[in-house]
């Protein structure tokens, strides 16, 4: 911990950063996101295996961007998100310094995104076993039962949009659900509108989702909503060989066209 704190103190001292996004221990003992603006607050900084939040989502937030020079303590999911977001040209207006703590508890300060990309590719995470198990179970169901499963899950959704809020890939300034002239998707929290919302979200994230699982982890109702995009990522890898959050120049399948595409329908 001390190593990490010293490194961050150094970054503040030499003017590399003026805001550090990291983790601290809350009164409830969980690691929670923290925002360090002064050297005197560095002592609260921690990093453990339980630091699950994908902090890259904060780099879209105006109050955070204002700081200009931002340090971010990243777990592997956050690093993947940073790679994906860079490939989508999202960081043109901030200077960021990326830190991580590796398995040997060494603190790494990346000097550029190419280094982050190399680290991500060397430590690329597998799909989580738990997710794969549930996906296998869902695959084993008939189409009707699978539809029933999701209809039941989504009928409980209350449209708090926490899944959207925690998602680093959901950065549209105006979301489709917020368009009301015309209104594409019903905003009341009822089954049809809920299904429309989650299908729309999953489609927009197809091949862009970096499998951090935050949306499923934080859903107040407990819907495993992340499985939709995990499944899409699996399929896209099978069909196109693409991996999200893997390469800085990565094209995601739904956004690229190749003249030699084996499918004829698009020509």
């Amino acid at each position: 911990m001390k190593l990490l704190q010293n490194k961050v103190a150094e970054l503040f001292e030499n003017g590399t950063i003026n805001l550090m996004i990291g983790f601290k221990e809350a009164l409830t003992k969980q690691p929670v996101p923290c925002f360090i603006e002064k050297a005197s607050e560095i002592e609260q900084l921690i990093y453990t295996k339980d630091c699950k939040n994908n902090l890259s989502v904060y780099l879209h937030k105006p109050e955070v961007k204002q700081a200009g020079k931002i340090g971010i303590l990243a777990n592997i999911a956050t690093l993947r998100a940073l790679v994906q977001l860079t490939s989508e040209n999202q960081f043109w207006d901030i200077e960021k310094t990326v830190l991580t703590v590796n398995d040997k508890e060494e603190v790494i300060v990346f000097s550029d995104m190419e280094e982050v990309e190399a680290y991500v590719q060397a430590n690329f995470p597998e799909f989580s076993e738990e997710d794969l198990k549930l996906l296998d179970y869902l695959e084993s169901l008939s189409r009707e039962d699978r539809w029933k499963y999701w209809t039941e899950q989504f009928s409980a959704c209350i449209k708090c949009y926490a899944c959207r809020a925690v998602c680093p890939m959901c950065y549209c300034p105006q979301c489709t659900v917020e368009c009301n002239q015309p209104q594409w998707i019903k905003t009341s929290a009822q089954t049809t509108g809920n299904l429309e919302w989650h299908i729309m979200r999953a489609m927009h994230l197809a091949g862009r989702c970096i499998n951090c699982g935050e949306c499923g982890r934080i859903c107040p109702v407990g819907i495993p909503v992340h499985l939709l995009t995990v499944k899409m990522n699996q399929d896209l890898f099978k069909e196109f060989g693409t991996k999200s959050g893997f390469a800085l120049k990565g094209d995601y399948a739904l956004n690229s066209f190749k003249p030699d595409d084996k499918e004829g329908f698009i020509k």
Partner: protein, 334 residues
Amino acid sequence: MEIKTITSANIPVFFNNLVKSGKVVVAPVLKKSGKVFFESVQSYDQVSTDYIQTAFSAKSVVFPEVEELFSYTKKEDGDFEFRNDMSNVPETVIWGLRPCDSSAFNYLTDFFLKENPDTYFKLRKERTTLISVSCAKADAACFCTSVGLNPGNVTGSDILLTAMGDSYYVEISTEKGKSVIDTALFTDSTEKSKEEFLAKVETKFSMDEIRERIQTAYDSAEWKHESMGCLGCGACAFSCPTCTCFDIQDEGSQESGKRLRCWDACGFGQFTRHASGHNPKSNQTARRRQRLMHKFKYSVENFGIVSCVGCGRCIRVCPAHLNIFENILNVTKA
């Protein structure tokens, strides 16, 4: 107030009799996700007894996520037929809500009925009976004792049950409570005090100090830092037992449709956005401040009560783990 006793063995009988009487009984149920939710149950076997707090409050019984205000259909003569049938709202018992939640019903009642009584809420509230269960356990997010409540307060409940080993201490506060009591199952209480059976909830702040300092907290420089983690979702507002903001939505066509009242949340960027595009609460700092100031200052000015009951749901549910009592302490620092 009437005090009675019921044996623990008779609690399921009492509960199942409520169901048999034809009332809808809403009680805490443990779901596969590990979270406990209020839902309509048929038998006491389904009821969870081992929980600190349900994921959501029971406010949806009287203030549903989506309330149909009316529906309309275009008739052949071109005129419209409007329907608003509330006659089928069932008599409902909410079982197992915590004392903080039952207190929240007092605030909800003030909010919806004090000025311009809301007919929808009024009818639902009239047909709802609250049978609360005192807290034997608390967690680090609980702070009812900081906002003037406690794990065994009777405020808002029709009946409050407190588990005392092999029996329950029963406090009946209202006529409505009396009317659901099955006299054969209850005997006069000989117990003196329920205190030792209640959870110990640490006091996080003193309301006396806050009340004074919150008056000038609007200008605190701490708001920006305190709300830095806020991502602008509605999880805190939707899980809160006293959040009452709503949005009116029309769904349908020119031929037929309905007007709905849907929960809304002050954390959403659209919450205060005007038709012109101007937004007086244009950033998350302003929105978080609104939420906290409403709970601790504005509702005191409007209704004379702090509208935070210390249930801790917003802390447990927040994706960024924002902590309302930490926030309040920091923005009211001397």
